[in-house]
C-alpha cells in the first residue's frame, strides 16, 4: 500500500526570535500489516527490512503496532526486490516488495543445475553450439578419410 505523507510549511517564532521552518517533500511509503493465520494482528512483532543490494543485512528495523502495522519509507533509488520479515514468539513470515522496473516479479523459466554434472550445468548455449560444431567437424573429417581415393 502506498502512503504519501505531506507536511505543510510551518513558521514558528519564539522569544529569542529564532526562526524555524519546515520544508516538505512527497515520499512514497509502505505500510505492512502482519497477521496470524487466524486473522489476529501480530502486535509487537519484530520487523526487519532488507534492501536489494545488501539482502543479507537488515537496513531497517522496527516493531509492529497493536494492529500489526508498520510503516516505513524505501530508498526508491534502490530498484529491485525489498524483503520484509516479521517475527513474534515462534511465528514469522517474509514479504517481498518489488520497486522499480528491475524489481518486478517475472515468471522465471525452470532449469535444473545438477552439481554432480558441474561442467554440463555451466555450459552456455554458445559453448554447446561450438561443441556440436567440433563433433560435426570430426565426423566430416572421419567420413572424408574413409571415402578418399587410394593411389
Amino acid at each position: 500500500m502506498a502512503l504519501f505523507l505531506i507536511n505543510s510549511p510551518l513558521f514558528l517564532e519564539n522569544a529569542q526570535g529564532h526562526g524555524a521552518n519546515i520544508q516538505y517533500q512527497r515520499c512514497e511509503g509502505i505500510e505492512i500489516t502482519s497477521l496470524y493465520d487466524s486473522g489476529t494482528p501480530m502486535a509487537g512483532a519484530r520487523v526487519l527490512i532488507f534492501a536489494p543490494d545488501k539482502p543479507e543485512v537488515a537496513q531497517l528495523e522496527g516493531i509492529t503496532d497493536e494492529e500489526g502495522k508498520f510503516r516505513f519509507f524505501l530508498d526508491s533509488s534502490q530498484e529491485g526486490v525489498w524483503s520484509v520479515q516479521t517475527r513474534l514468539a515462534g511465528h514469522g513470515a517474509m514479504a517481498y516488495i518489488p520497486i522499480g522496473n528491475s524489481g518486478e516479479n517475472g515468471e522465471g523459466k525452470s532449469s535444473v543445475a545438477v552439481p554432480s554434472a558441474k561442467a554440463r550445468a555451466s555450459l552456455s548455449t554458445t559453448q554447446r553450439l561450438l561443441m556440436v560444431l567440433v563433433i560435426l567437424w570430426g565426423c566430416l573429417g572421419t567420413a572424408l578419410f574413409f571415402s578418399r581415393k587410394k593411389n
Binding site: E56, A93, K109, S110, Q127, M131
Partner: protein
Amino acid sequence: MVSDKFRNQQGKNAKMLSKSKLLTSIMFFLTIFLFLIFPIRHSLAQEGRLQFYANGEELIVAGFKYPHLTKDGWELNFEHVYVTLTEITAWQSKPPYDAHKGGNIKGVKKVALPGIHTVDLTKGTLQNPAVLVGELTGVPSGHYNTISWRMAKATSGPAKGYSLLVTGSAKKNGKIIPFRIVSDNECEYRCGEFVGDVRKGFVGKGSVADLEMTFHFDHVFGRADEPLNSEMNKAAFGFEPFAGKSSAPRVIKLSAIHLGHVGEGHCAFH
C-alpha cells in the same frame, strides 16, 4: 639427376604440406579447446557449497522442561528423534514461494541433495541444535530462497519402516513412563525462505551457505507456556493421548501435524 632432384623436392614439399596441415589442425583444435575451457573454468569459479541442516530446536535437545512443559503439563525427555528425509531440494524461486498459498514451486534454478537421510535430531547441542544432513559442492551462485523435502520411510537403521520415530520418557506428578511414537506416513514439505535471526541460502563464489529444515514438536505436544487457546495449542495433541498403559508404539499421521518449518516460517505440506 634433375628428375631425381625434382622428385626429392616434390617429396619434401608434400611432407611439409602434410606437416603444415597437421599443425593447422592441432592449432584449430587447441583454439577450440581453449575457447571452451576458459569460459567453463570461469563458470565453475561462480560456484559455492550449500549445506542442509535438520533442526529439532531446543525443545528436542533439552526436552520439554519447566516452564516449557507440554500443553497438558508433561515433562518430556527425548532419547532419539529420527526423521527420514529425501528429495531435499533447494530452489532459486521467482517469484519467491508463498507457502501460505501453496502450489508448485516456480524455480529458476534448483539443486538436489541425493539419497535418503535418517537424522537423529537429539544429536544437536543447546548452543547449536541443528544437525548436518549433507552438503553439495559446485552449487551455482544465487539466493536459494525456497526448500522442499519429503519425509519418507527409512529403508535401514533403527528407524527402518518409519518416517518419524520418537523415543523417550515422560514425567508428570511423579509418574515416569517411557514412550515410543512412530509414523509411517510420507509427507512432502514446500517452504519459502528461512525466517530467523539471519537470512539463509546465499551461495556466492567459493562460499558456504546453508539451509535448514526445522521441526516444531510443540505443534505435536503443545506448550504450557503459551495460552491454551492459541492456534498452535488448539491444533496440538498434547502428550496425554500418547500416555496409555500399553507399551505398544503410538502411531501418528504426519498430515495431521504441522511439523516441518523453515525457522519460524511455515511450509505447505501434503
